[in-house]
C-alpha cells in the first residue's frame, strides 16, 4: 500500500499554506497615492505637515482617503488617479518648493497579511518603467585631490620643522620632494615613515633616492582602498539626497563593485531631467582671497561664474572642500536680504575655524569645480579623423564674501542678491558635495507604456503556455496527468509566494524563467510516470507506483542540481533583468522538485493508495 504518514501530509500542507499566504498579496490591486516629504532632507515629516496637508486638501475640497506618517514621509491614498493628480497639483501650488511630492501606487495588502510580512512581488524597471543608471566614480581625481592636500600639509610641516626642500610637485599621482642635503632628506624620510603608520596599515609607498636627495611618495593599496571607499561612500550619500529631490517613491541607490554606483528610479519618465540632477559632476572649494602678503607662487586667478570679465586672486590652499558641506539652504537676514545658510561637518568646521580666526576682514571665496568635456577632431594612426573627448576641470568663483567673524560648523553668506540667486547658490552648494566626479557608464530607460506592455505579454505567455501543458498532460496521462497539473499550479503559487517573501525582483526575463519552469517542471512527473509504466510490466500496480517514484528520484535530483549550478552562475555574472531570470529559474527548480515529487505523490497516494488495484491506467 502507498500511504504517507500524517507528518508527511502536515509538512506538505504547511508549505502549501505558507506559499498561498505569501502569494496572496499579489492578488490585491494597487491604489493611487502620493508621498510628501520636506525638500530639506535633514527635516522629517511630522504632525504639523500632516495637519497642513489635511487643511489644504479640505479647503480645496479634494477627495482623499487615508493619510498617515511613514518613514519621514506622509502618505495620502486616493480613490482614483484623477483625485491623485488633482491633489498633487493643489498641494504643489500651495506649498511650492517646501515639499517634494511623489506619485505612487500603494499596495492594498490587508493588515493581517502585512503583519505576517506579506507584500506583493517587486517589479523590475523593465516591467514598472523607469530609469536605471550606472555611474562610475573617478577615483584618480579623488586621489589627486588627496595628494594636493598632502603636498600642502608637508610643505607647511617641513617649514615648521626647518626641513629645507628645493622642489616639490605632483606628477602621475606621485608626490615628489627634492632636498638640498642628506640631512633634510633623512629628516623628511623619518617624518614620512612615522606618518605612514595608519590604523589599518602602511599608508605610503616611499621611493628613496639618496644619491639625488629625492623622495617620491605614493599611496599604498590600503590608503587607496580608504580613499576609494570614502569617495564612493560620500557620493552615495550625496546621490541619495539628489535622488530625493527628484521625488521618486522607491528609489534605489547602491554601490556596485569597487567604484560604481547603481541608481534606479522607478516611474521616472524623463531621463534627461533625472540625469541633470544626478549627473551634476561638481565639487566645491572654500579658499581665502589672496592679499598683498601672499607670495605670487601661492595664488591663482579665477573667473567669476556669472561674470566673465571679473576675476579674483585666491590662495592656492583649500580651507575646506565641498565634501564637508552637509547642508545649504536659503533664508533672510535681519534687514530682509537674502542669505545662504551653510552647515559643515565637524572636521570641516574645525578647519574653517582655524582658517578664519586670524583672518577676519579678509574675503572667503567659494569655488565651484565642474568636470566638463570637450570634443576635438583628431587624426588617428590609420589616418581617419575621429572625435576624441577629453575631460577637463573648470573652476569658477560663485561667491566672494567678507569674513565678519570666526566661522565654525554653521555660518551664512549674506549679500547674495535676489532670492532667486540665493536659492541657486544654495542648490550649487548642495550639489557640490561630491567627493569625486562621476560619469555615466550605463543607462537604461523604459517608458511606462513599454513596462505595462511587457507585463501583459509576459502574463499572456505564462497563461497560454500553462494551458497548453495542462491540456497535453491530461490527454497523455489521464488521472496521473491531472495530479501533475495540480502540482504545476501549486508550483506557480509557491514561486510567487517565495519571490514575494524574499523581496526578489520580477523582471521580463524573470517571467520568461517562470514560463520555462512551467515547461520543464512537468519533466520530473514525466520521468516518474514513464518509470511507473515500465515497472508495471513486471510488478503489481502498488509496487510499480512505489518503485517508480523511488527510482526516478535519483535521476530528477541529479538533473536538477546541474541546472541549479547553471542558474547560480547566471545569478553571479548577470545584471538586472538577467539576475531576475536566474532567480525565478532557481526558485522554480527547487519548488518544482517539491511539488512534482511530494505533492504529486500525495495526490497519487490519496487516489490509489488504499485500493487493491488489479491494473493501472497511466
Amino acid at each position: 500500500m502507498n500511504k504517507f504518514s500524517i507528518y508527511q501530509y502536515l509538512i506538505i500542507l504547511t508549505v502549501l499554506v505558507l506559499g498561498f499566504t505569501y502569494a496572496l498579496p499579489n492578488l490585491y490591486p494597487t491604489q493611487p497615492s502620493i508621498q510628501v516629504a520636506y525638500t530639506d532632507s535633514g527635516k522629517s515629516a511630522d504632525q504639523v505637515l500632516l495637519n497642513d496637508l489635511q487643511n489644504i486638501l479640505d479647503d480645496s475640497n479634494s477627495d482623499h482617503e487615508e493619510m498617515f506618517l511613514r518613514d519621514n514621509k506622509i502618505v495620502i491614498k486616493f480613490k482614483s488617479l484623477d483625485d491623485q493628480l488633482n491633489s498633487k497639483t493643489v498641494l504643489q501650488n500651495t506649498l511650492l518648493d517646501k515639499v517634494i511630492i511623489a506619485l505612487n501606487l500603494e499596495p492594498t495588502t490587508p493588515d493581517w497579511l502585512k503583519d505576517l510580512g506579506g507584500k506583493p512581488v517587486k517589479l523590475g524597471l523593465d516591467l514598472s518603467g523607469g530609469v536605471h543608471f550606472l555611474l562610475e566614480v573617478d577615483i584618480e581625481t579623488a586621489q589627486q585631490g588627496r595628494l594636493e592636500l598632502l603636498l600642502d600639509t608637508y610643505r607647511k610641516s617641513f617649514k615648521e620643522d626647518r626641513i629645507k626642500f628645493t622642489n616639490s610637485s605632483i606628477n602621475d599621482l606621485e608626490l615628489f620632494f627634492e632636498f638640498p642635503d642628506s640631512d633634510s632628506y633623512n629628516k623628511a624620510l623619518r617624518k614620512y615613515r612615522t606618518d605612514s603608520l595608519g590604523i589599518n596599515g602602511v599608508q605610503y609607498i616611499i621611493t628613496e633616492k639618496p644619491s639625488t636627495n629625492i623622495l617620491i611618495l605614493e599611496f599604498s593599496d590600503v590608503a587607496l582602498k580608504e580613499i576609494r571607499d570614502y569617495a564612493v561612500g560620500q557620493n552615495l550619500t550625496t546621490l541619495r539626497n539628489r535622488v530625493n529631490e527628484l521625488g521618486v517613491s522607491e528609489p534605489v541607490v547602491q554601490r556596485q563593485g569597487s567604484n560604481r554606483i547603481v541608481v534606479e528610479l522607478p516611474g521616472v519618465q524623463d531621463p534627461t531631467a533625472a540625469k541633470k540632477i544626478i549627473g551634476k559632476t561638481a565639487n566645491l572649494e572654500f579658499r581665502l582671497e589672496a592679499n598683498s602678503r601672499t607670495s605670487p607662487l601661492r595664488k591663482e586667478e579665477f573667473d567669476f561664474k556669472n561674470n566673465d570679465f571679473a576675476t579674483a586672486f585666491l590662495e592656492r590652499s583649500v580651507v575646506v572642500s565641498g565634501d564637508r558641506v552637509t547642508n545649504a539652504s536659503t533664508g533672510f537676514d535681519e534687514s530682509g536680504f537674502s542669505q545662504v545658510n551653510i552647515t559643515l561637518d565637524m572636521q570641516g568646521g574645525r578647519a574653517m575655524q582655524k582658517a578664519t580666526s586670524g583672518n577676519i576682514g579678509r574675503k572667503l571665496a567659494v569655488l565651484f569645480v565642474e568636470q566638463k568635456s570637450k570634443s576635438e577632431l583628431i587624426v588617428d594612426e590609420d589616418g581617419n579623423s575621429v572625435i576624441e573627448q577629453t575631460s577637463y576641470i573648470e573652476k569658477n568663483i560663485i561667491s566672494l564674501a567678507t569674513i565678519q567673524a570666526v566661522l565654525g560648523t554653521s555660518f551664512r553668506i549674506t549679500g547674495v542678491g535676489t532670492p532667486q540667486e540665493a536659492s541657486e547658490l544654495a542648490l550649487l552648494l548642495r550639489a557640490g558635495a561630491l567627493a569625486a566626479p562621476m560619469k555615466f557608464v550605463e543607462e537604461r530607460t523604459v517608458g511606462p507604456s513599454l513596462g505595462k506592455e511587457n507585463i501583459e505579454l509576459g502574463m499572456k505567455s505564462i497563461m497560454i503556455g500553462f494551458a497548453l501543458v495542462v491540456l497535453f498532460m491530461t490527454l497523455y496521462y489521464r488521472v496521473f496527468g491531472l495530479a501533475a497539473n495540480v502540482s504545476l499550479f501549486l508550483n506557480l503559487v509557491l514561486i510567487t509566494g517565495i519571490m514575494s517573501l524574499l523581496g526578489a525582483t520580477l523582471t521580463l526575463p524573470g517571467i520568461a524563467g517562470i514560463v520555462l519552469t512551467v515547461g520543464m517542471a512537468v519533466d520530473a512527473n514525466v520521468l516518474i510516470f514513464a518509470r511507473i509504466r515500465e515497472e508495471l510490466k513486471e510488478k503489481d500496480p502498488q509496487t510499480a507506483i512505489r518503485d517508480g517514484f523511488a527510482r526516478a528520484f535519483v535521476t530528477i535530483f541529479d538533473a536538477n542540481v546541474t541546472t541549479l549550478i547553471a542558474a547560480l552562475i547566471l545569478y553571479i555574472i548577470g545584471t538586472g533583468p538577467v539576475k531576475g531570470f536566474a532567480i525565478t529559474l532557481s526558485i522554480g527548480i527547487v519548488t518544482s522538485m517539491f511539488t512534482a515529487i511530494m505533492c504529486t505523490r500525495a495526490m497519487v497516494n490519496l487516489i490509489y493508495g488504499n485500493k487493491n488495484l488489479k491494473e493501472l491506467k497511466i
Binding site: 550606472l134 562610475e136 531621463p271 540625469k275 570634443s375 572625435i387 573627448q389 555615466f440 557608464v441 550605463e442 543607462e443 537604461r444 530607460t445 517608458g447 513599454l450 506592455e453 505579454l457 509576459g458 505567455s461 497560454i464 503556455g465 500553462f466 497548453l468 498532460m473 521580463l508 526575463p509 520568461a512 524563467g513 514560463v515 520555462l516 515547461g519 520543464m520 512537468v522 519533466d523 514525466v526 520521468l527 514513464a530 509504466r533 523511488a550 528520484f553 535519483v554 535521476t555 541529479d558 538533473a559 542540481v561 546541474t562 541546472t563 549550478i565 547553471a566 542558474a567 552562475i569 547566471l570 555574472i573 548577470g574 533583468p577 538577467v578 531570470f581 529559474l585 515529487i597 511530494m598
Partner: protein
C-alpha cells in the same frame, strides 16, 4: 512507449553531421563573428513608438544630416515602432536623449519607449564576464557529473554541452541575430536543460550496464535510449510548447531569448541521444568503469 529504434546504427552519420555543423559554426564564429547586441558592443539604443507608420528612410536621413552617420534604423515588432542604434561615441551618455529630441524637433513626434546606453568599458566587462561565466558553468558541471557518475560520462556530457553551445552560437552568427545578455542567459539555461536530458540518458545507461550483463555495449545504449525516449520526447514537447507561446506572445524584447531556447531544446535533445552515446562508445565504456556498485537509490527509498 515500446520503441526499438537502433539509434547506434546511425551513430557514424550522426557523428559526421555533428562534426560538420560544429566546424561550420566555428568557421562562422571565427570569420564572421557574432552580431553583438548593445549589452556587449556598447553604444546607444532608442525605441520610439509612433501613432502612424513613419518612413525609416527619412529618419535615417535626419540622423545622417545631423552627424549620426553610423546609425541603424529598423522597425521593431510592428511598423509603428522604430529602433535606432548608434555606435558608441567615446562614452557619451546623452546621445539617446539627443536623438529623441532631434527627431521631435524634425516633426517625428512619438512616445519614447526606451533608451539604453552601455559604455564601452561596461560592454567589454559584460563580454568577459559572460564568457568566463560560461566556462565556469561548464567546468563545475563537468566536476559534478564526474563526481556523481564517472569521468567518461562527464566528458560525454561536457562534449554534448560544448556541441550545443557552439552550434547555437554558430546559428546566431550565421543568421546575424543579435547576441545580447538575454541570449547569453538563454544559453546558460540551455546548458542546464541539455544537461537534464543528458543525465537522464546517462543514468539509464549506467543502470543497464550494471543489470543487463548479457548485452553488448551497442545494444545496451540502444536499449537505454529507447527506454528514455518516451520521456525525452514528452519533456522536449512540453518545453517547446511553452517556448513557442513565449516566442509568439512574449513580445519583441524576448524574441532572441526564446529563439535561443527553442534551438537549445532541439539541439540539446539531439545531442543527449547522439553526442553523449557517441562519446561513450568512442571512449569504450566498459563494465569495469562502473564496477563499484554505488548504493544506488537505496538511500532515497525512504523518501517519497
Amino acid at each position: 512507449m515500446n520503441t526499438k529504434f537502433q539509434f547506434m546504427k546511425y551513430r557514424k552519420i550522426a557523428g559526421i553531421t555533428s562534426i560538420a555543423i560544429f566546424i561550420l559554426s566555428v568557421f562562422s564564429l571565427s570569420f564572421k563573428g557574432l552580431t553583438l547586441g548593445l549589452d556587449f558592443s556598447g553604444g546607444t539604443l532608442v525605441e520610439v513608438t509612433y501613432e502612424t507608420p513613419v518612413e525609416l528612410e527619412s529618419i535615417r536621413n535626419t540622423l545622417i544630416s545631423n552627424g549620426y552617420e553610423d546609425s541603424q534604423v529598423v522597425n521593431f515588432g510592428t511598423n509603428l515602432d522604430v529602433l535606432i542604434k548608434v555606435a558608441d561615441q567615446n562614452g557619451n551618455s546623452s546621445i539617446g536623449e539627443n536623438i529623441f529630441q532631434l527627431l521631435e524637433n524634425n516633426g517625428f513626434r512619438g512616445e519614447l519607449k526606451r533608451v539604453e546606453f552601455v559604455g564601452p568599458q561596461v560592454g567589454a566587462e559584460l563580454r568577459d564576464q559572460g564568457g568566463l561565466g560560461m566556462l565556469v558553468a561548464l567546468f563545475m558541471i563537468l566536476m559534478y557529473v564526474a563526481f556523481r557518475f564517472q569521468y567518461k560520462f562527464a566528458l560525454g556530457a561536457v562534449t554534448a554541452l560544448g556541441h550545443d553551445v557552439v552550434i547555437i552560437l554558430g546559428l546566431f552568427s550565421i543568421f546575424s541575430w543579435d547576441f545580447d545578455l538575454t541570449v547569453l542567459a538563454a544559453l546558460l539555461a540551455v546548458i542546464g536543460y541539455s544537461l537534464n536530458d543528458t543525465i537522464v540518458v546517462s543514468d539509464r545507461i549506467r543502470e543497464n550496464f550494471r543489470t543487463q550483463r548479457e548485452l553488448n555495449p551497442i545494444e545496451m545504449v540502444d536499449l537505454s535510449l529507447n527506454q528514455t525516449l518516451g520521456r525525452t520526447v514528452v519533456t522536449s514537447f512540453t518545453t517547446l510548447l511553452v517556448l513557442f507561446a513565449l516566442f509568439i506572445f512574449g513580445g519583441e524584447m524576448i524574441k532572441g531569448f526564446s529563439l535561443a531556447l527553442i534551438l537549445g531544446v532541439l539541439v540539446g535533445t539531439y545531442s543527449s541521444i547522439y553526442v553523449v552515446a557517441n562519446m561513450l562508445m568512442s571512449l569504450t565504456l566498459t563494465q569495469e568503469d562502473l564496477a563499484i556498485p554505488e548504493p544506488e537509490g537505496a538511500e532515497f527509498d525512504e523518501l517519497p
